[in-house]
Amino acid sequence: MRLASSSDVGEFRGRFKWYALTVVLTFFVIIGRLFDLQILEADRYRGEARENIIRRITMPAARGMVEDSGGNVLASNRASWNIAVVPGRVLPSGRPPHRVGRYETDTWATIAGTLRLTPVERDSWAIRLREACQTDEDHSACWRSTIVREDTPRDIVVELRQHAAEHQGADVIETSVRTYPFGSLTAHLLGYVGEIDAETLVRYRPEGYGDLASDEQRKINPLGYEPGDTVGVVGLERAWEAMLRGQRGWVKRIVDARGRYRTEPAYQSLLEEPSRQDPIAGRNLRLAFDVELQKAAKHAMAKQLGGAVVAMEVRTGRVLALYSKPEYDPNEVSGAQGRARLREAFARLRPDPLAPLLDKTTTGAFPPGSTFKPFAALAGLEDDVLKPEKNEVCNQFVFYGRRRFKCTHAHGVVNLRAAIAQSCNIYFFKLAESVGIDRIARIGQLFGFGERTGLAINPESPGRMPTRAFYTNIFRGAYKLGFTLNTAIGQGAMTTTPLQLASAYAALGNGGTLFVPQVVRSVVSSEGELLQDFHPRVRRTIPMKPQNLARITDGLKQVVESPRGTAHALRDPALPVSGKTGTAQVGYASKPGESASSAWYYSRDDAWFAALYPSMAPEVAVVVLVEHGISGPAVAAPIAFEILHAYAKLSDKRKGSAP
């Protein structure tokens, strides 16, 4: 027995007690560590394990609705369905060969067919989906869902859901999007919403935001913005964001490490009370705005390329119509119909020379032309420089130094009344010469020219009411009389927005009270409870002698009434309108390479009509601007009359239906 003879176990035996001691001590250390983890620190780890599986899922708040004065919904929300696919599930054949799984048939072709994608779209998506799977990582894009069609029609969604098996790997994601039932009609007033951009988000959520206590967070970010949120971008949507937005809610759910909801009853007791907080819907806005009148404005402007209409209540400053042309479709640019539509729409709208994105009622400033003459006349009367009955002779031309200033034609002998009615420039040149630019500017400023009205919906241009100081500053002291003369007829450096002109005429119509234009009448809770009612706000009461104002308003009546008035052709005994026409020259330098027809169009005069109705006791002021419309009397005035006709009909109907 070779083995037995070589067996000297004695050498080893001395070691075993040390070995045994080591083993016992080591396992004691492990037990000690387990005691530490499972007994002493158990609460901490239990808490962490609970945090791992409980997720607060935010519930978006419904954005507030916007209604007009007649209860028509101008902005609300609708359901929208996006279709997302998981590349690895719809195109398993594109996965690396060793990645075998449960999904083995390609369903992409079927899905693309159901989604009614074009063959080109289908194939370009197929390439992108395949590329997503060309990596070997576990959490690659191959397993992340990708949205392939936004704002999908309902019938497609129904088909996808009914035949889920054939569309393996496609999911329907329901979201809520903003909708504007009147579309482009209310574009500039309402504006539109969009996804919050990174810059804005950083302002509300600066670095380290996530570590702050919740009340600290609320201080910096009172509206609780999160990435991907919808915010008002322009218009009412932006200006009234705080009211419309609402407050998101949350619900606690049990979620596993893969992000799936788990509903086993055994775990539901882990959800501590309160387990949910319902979202608070945004507040609704009720406007003074009247969509029917807006429709009339749009209809009246149908033949024009560009321009603006403002209708304002004379005795309150409430805005009834606010129309800017050309418009855009807010449903497109809000992204509700998909990002592709949004990008395509902006690519079309941004370079358009007619500036459809610009709100011409407030953001655009234009020379007012003759519509400013009543204010120049008022300046002369107030300062007792102008004798209303004194006649001037208009021979079509007048010379100041070597410069010739001209009128439309020879008006002959005119007094103030006739000069307003017939819009005689020569009369106003002579008036300006004696009154001076600063007195004209003082009255102009009192009526709100050169100053923002405070509508605060879209960026507002202040326009410009030039003074002597202004011109001196610009032209280095070489002041010329021509500046004064141009100012009196609303030319030269003078500009106004249609909204400014409307509120100035409203002040003429109401005896001298300038209001802050107001578009939101009241704020109503989502349950319909009235939360806040806005009263008309007076900007200032303009000090002037009633008899002077009466001479001006009389002149405005004569514009229509007098047989020689510029708008006499439109006179309608059933529609007592007073107002003032304007045809303003525009300074236009043609661009190199511009076509002759384009240069011709852009150098045409702007056409204005500012109206008050009814002329004896005005209720409403309407300002119509037709850009490059050539003639105030021939182009702008008929539009204003058409709108006022609609106004009269609407108010008759309402008076009739009122109890």
């Binding site: 083993v23 016992v24 080591t26």
Partner: protein, 374 residues
């Protein structure tokens, strides 16, 4: 003729000296391990849910092998030592040529429908060869460095091949089995301390001169900062620790632990089955399992102590070391006492190669136990 029949005659005493405590300990471990595997994979995908069945197959196969080995006189195994060592080395070399690449290292060899891990079988071969060497390396009263050289060389070759795969965990286990076995030799304490000192120096050098793979370095750095980078390198270790703590004193109950049921434990059936048990059964269950391991290792040492020859003593010590170091590294890793090294929990982790390897070791133990001094 007589030589060939001798092992058969030994079957009779094997039945008489059947080691019931060892058998019951192992059986308990296998049963608890399979049940735990059922819980561990219950929440997983369909394909994984069948894993415990596979494990039962492997346990049966390993059990039969162990039964056969237990009934053979362990002195027979001495003859197999060098052949199995040779085959083991060949397989380890083949891994580099034919191995399948999984997560950046080639550890597997496909033979027909089977995938085997040669590094696992190498453990058994190493134990056999070292036991054979220690058996014959007797006599000298003054043990010195020279006595350690040959066994060191025997262990270094496979350890180097395994570390090259790279599989640091198994390389470590091979080295520790070697250390545990050669320390049976009566080397003076001063030499042991000197070796320990130079080992520390080597570890320092490896760290300092950046000889580790990036992922290995990342794991150790993760261990040194356990609460850092929980979503990345510390994900495994962190969620394992949370699962253990989440078990508390008595646990959530079978198949109810939330970390496992909600998929926060990756590799819950291979390297991290213990957190599943700790979460389901709490401190009570964990203590029971640790006690079983402690019992098995101590039992192996007892068998070694009572062995009638050096080969049996060394063999039993080697198998005890195999269980001990696997258990210590796995439990140390999941409780955060040690860095994450991929070391399985014996008879608990899923895996055919390791289950069969462990049970072959148990067969050796049973045989040594049956043939020890009565």
């Amino acid at each position: 003729m007589a030589r060939g029949l001798r092992p058969l005659r030994r079957i009779v005493p094997a039945r008489d000296h059947f080691d019931w405590p060892l058998f019951l300990g192992i059986a308990a471990l296998c049963v608890v391990g399979a049940i735990n595997l059922y819980s561990a994979t219950s929440a997983a995908k369909l394909a994984l849910q069948e894993l415990y069945v596979q494990q039962v197959y492997w346990l049966v196969v390993g059990g039969i092998v162990a039964g056969i080995l237990a009934s053979v006189d362990y002195r027979m195994f001495e003859k197999w030592a060098w052949p199995s060592y040779g085959v083991g080395l060949v397989l380890l070399v083949l891994v580099f040529i034919l191995g399948r690449d999984i997560r950046g290292s080639s550890r597997w060899l496909s033979i027909g429908p089977l995938s085997i891990q040669p590094s696992e079988t190498m453990k058994i071969a190493l134990i056999l060869v070292l036991a054979k060497h220690l058996h014959t390396a007797h006599g000298s009263e003054h043990r010195g460095l020279r006595d350690l050289l040959v066994p060191a060389l025997i262990a270094a070759v496979p350890a180097a091949l395994v570390i090259k795969q790279p599989d640091l965990g198994t390389g470590l286990i091979l080295s520790l089995i070697f250390a545990s076995m050669v320390m049976l030799l009566a080397v003076p304490l001063s030499l042991v301390l000197r070796l320990l000192g130079s080992f520390i120096a080597v570890v320092w050098a490896v760290w300092e001169f950046d000889l580790l793979k990036d992922y290995q370095r990342a794991r150790i750095e993760a261990f040194l900062n356990p609460e850092h980078n929980i979503l990345g390198t510390n994900w495994h270790a962190h969620h394992a620790r949370v699962a253990i703590g989440n078990g508390g004193a008595t646990g959530w109950g079978f198949m109810l632990g939330t970390q496992n049921q909600f998929h926060f434990l990756p590799d819950q059936f291979t390297d991290f089955p213990f957190p599943v048990l700790a979460e389901d059964w709490g401190f009570a269950g964990s203590c029971l399992l640790v006690t079983i391991y402690a019992f098995l290792v101590l039992r192996a040492l007892e068998i070694a102590y009572q062995s009638r020859d050096r080969f049996g003593a060394a063999l039993a010590t080697g198998v005890g070391a195999l269980f001990f170091w696997h258990a210590v590294f796995n439990l140390g890793m999941v409780t955060g006492l040690l860095p994450v090294v991929g070391v399985t929990l014996p008879l608990f982790s899923y895996g055919g190669s390791s289950v069969v390897t462990d049970l072959v070791g148990v067969g050796f133990l049973m045989s040594v136990s049956a043939h020890r001094q009565s």
